[in-house]
């Protein structure tokens, strides 16, 4: 019986777990325990879903027993089962981590609120991923966004407040653009169900209103996923949020937005409309190439490592969009694969930065000098994550770049390859800056001596770091999942 309700439970468990977390406001520790439990439960559910989807194909779940398109439907196919796994997997690692880190970075009064927000954010992200209804997606998007704003605003620096506000404004504009787009789609088709939309849109191929809807949806989602040049909210938001929040958001939120983009482009509007009528690739390719280069260079000049990583995230999102823009199965595979891989590497990096922040109180490159000797395990994990960003073989980053370049080769777009390679070199430089400061410089005289981060921080960091290595060495599983999903999307059979 439980098995047939898995799609609903995937979202309902965290959604209804959050009020319980909140009710435990007197004891943050209990809130946290509950949150961790919830994250593990959702992870288990997502694994079960993935297995089910692989065995028996797409699952549909009708809320309230009302069949789509009349009711709200959840659809799990190979694509979003994969994304669900990413999101819940990262949550299952970050949530246990958050306790100690939050203890130090967030006021006692806010702690249980923080854990509640995290659970809500998780629920929202999972919901966005699984939703088969365009409007339900918007509602869940808002749940995740609002809780994200809350989490960011809990950062200790006062700039966390402005960062959160900026994100709130831009995120809401994005969400509003999305509902304008959905509204026009509804106006033209009378439906909100994604599968239903997908069937009805091809008839409207030449409708200008449809083009406008497309534009609004892409811009809206672009704001949410920090598509260059709509990324302005991202660096501050990631830099000033509490470490656990940065790690969680950085490795999941933009990924889910990319998923939504892929879903709209390929499943709902369809390959023909998006790429042959609108030619969205001619927007994505130049924009993402520029983003990759520009933000990588900006990252090079950051003194706060969290900020640097944030800019690097924008560049990585560029890679994902580039994969879409290359418009072939390999390119899309690269995008999906990079969703997974980037979640792992950014997760590891941000968690490592959280551990650093826990010990020395900030993440400035100057104050991290000589930390390699004092926090060897943390910094080793950072190096692994960093190498993954650069794309060194045997790390996940290499796999993504390999497939991406492969896709570019298939298209014969040599300049694209040059940009990717140059950006990798720039990435190497900014990661190298850190490595040099950490390992090759000695601890400044006046800096306080610190010891290795506690185990409860180190274990999650290393889980992700090792996952980086494992999926870098054996990407068969992840690439198969991504490849299957990409092939399905391209074949036009949609869901």
């Amino acid at each position: 019986m439980i098995a047939s309700h898995l799609p609903a439970l995937q979202v309902v468990v965290p959604l209804l777990g959050a009020p319980f977390c909140f009710l435990l406001w007197r004891s943050p520790r209990l809130s946290w325990l509950l949150a961790t439990l919830i994250s593990w439960l959702t992870f288990a559910i997502s694994i079960a879903l993935l297995v089910t989807v692989n065995n028996s194909g797409t699952i549909e779940y009708a809320f309230g027993g009302w069949q789509a398109p009349w009711g709200i439907e959840y659809v799990v196919d190979q694509l979003n089962a994969f994304v669900l796994l990413i999101v819940s997997g990262i949550a299952a690692v970050v949530f246990p981590y958050s306790w100690i880190s939050v203890q130090q970075e967030v006021e006692l009064r806010q702690q249980s609120l923080f854990f509640t927000s995290m659970v809500l954010c998780l629920a929202g992200l999972l919901g966005i991923t699984i939703a088969g209804d365009a409007f339900n997606l918007f509602v869940l998007l808002e749940i995740s966004s609002l809780s994200t704003y809350t989490m960011i605003s809990m950062g200790r620096d006062r700039r966390a407040l402005t960062a959160s506000f900026q994100y709130l404004i831009m995120g809401t504009i994005g969400a509003t653009f999305i509902i304008i787009g959905v509204g026009i789609l509804f106006m033209l088709t009378g439906s909100l169900n994604m599968q239903d939309l997908a069937q009805r849109i091809p008839e409207l191929d030449q409708s200008r209103a449809l083009h406008v809807a497309f534009g609004f949806l892409i811009t809206g989602i672009g704001l949410k996923l920090a598509m260059f040049p709509l990324h302005l909210w991202l660096p501050n938001a990631y830099a000033y949020a509490p470490s656990a929040a940065s790690a969680f958001i950085a490795s999941t939120a933009t990924k889910v937005a990319v998923y939504v983009m892929v879903r709209y482009l390929f499943s709902i509007f369809g390959v023909n409309f998006s790429f042959q009528t609108i030619h969205i690739q001619w927007l994505f390719v130049p924009v993402s190439l520029f983003a990759i280069l520009f933000t990588s260079i900006v990252a090079l000049f950051q003194r706060d490592i969290k900020r640097m990583l944030a800019y690097s995230s924008v560049a990585q999102i560029g890679y994902m969009l580039l994969g879409i823009g290359l418009f072939n199965v390999t390119g899309l595979t690269a995008t999906l694969l990079h969703l997974f891989n980037h979640a792992l590497m950014k997760g590891a990096l941000f968690l490592a930065m959280g551990a650093v922040c826990y010990r020395i109180g900030n993440t400035f490159i100057d104050s991290m000098q000589g930390l390699g000797k004092q926090m060897p395990w943390t910094m080793a994990a950072f190096v692994i994550g960093g190498l993954s960003i650069v794309g060194v073989p045997l790390t996940t980053g290499f796999i993504s770049k390999w497939v991406l370049i492969q896709a570019a080769v298939e298209r014969g777009w040599w300049p694209v390859i040059i940009v990717i390679v140059v950006a990798s070199l720039i990435a190497m430089m900014y990661i190298w800056r850190v490595i040099e400061a950490v390992y090759l410089q000695s601890r400044p005289e006046n800096a306080k001596n610190v010891s290795e981060a506690p185990l409860s921080l180190l274990i999650p960091v290393w889980i992700l770091a090792l996952a980086n290595l494992y999926f870098g060495a054996n990407a068969t599983l992840s690439s198969e999942l991504a490849g299957n999903a990409a092939a399905t999307l391209f074949s036009g059979t949609g869901f």
């Binding site: 409007f135 918007f138 006062r158 809401t172 504009i173 509902i179 304008i180 509204g183 003194r303």
Partner: protein, 130 residues
């Protein structure tokens, strides 16, 4: 000529609603991105969203229809679905507003100003100090 004229008139009559709504939406949008005062931004955001709601409800309107509550004299009902969607959207909007306003209060407390320019200047200074 005459038929052309009629077409223009009927075309305009069929769309004036959308056009005004677009004007409202864009004004709200302009306030959001063009003003530097945070409170005004939030007001603009609300206007922007409210106008989108009007757009949705316009989509649901049917000439000669009436409110979608069973009524003996009704010939036809307007479309209830956009109403439901907008109910949800309104609530989402107020939630965002409440959060935004609390952020503004805290920003005022932390920076002693709610002008974006001034906050930016302070932040830049801070960045240099570090």
């Amino acid at each position: 000529m005459d038929s052309f004229f009629n077409e223009v008139i009927s075309g305009a009559l069929g769309r004036y609603n959308y056009w005004v709504v677009i004007f409202l939406m864009m004004s709200g949008f302009y306030v959001v991105i063009g003003s530097t005062n945070l409170v005004k931004k939030i007001v603009g955001l609300n206007i922007f969203q409210t106008s989108v709601f009007i757009l949705y409800i316009s989509i649901g309107k049917i000439n000669g229809g009436t409110a979608p509550i069973v009524w003996a004299n009704a010939e036809r009902y307007s479309n209830p679905l956009p109403h439901v969607l907008i109910l949800t959207a309104i609530v989402v909007g107020v939630a965002t507003t409440a959060l935004g306003l609390s952020l503004i209060m805290r920003i005022k407390h932390a920076y002693n100003t709610v002008e974006e320019d001034e906050i930016l200047a302070i932040s830049l200074e801070e960045d240099e100090d570090e």
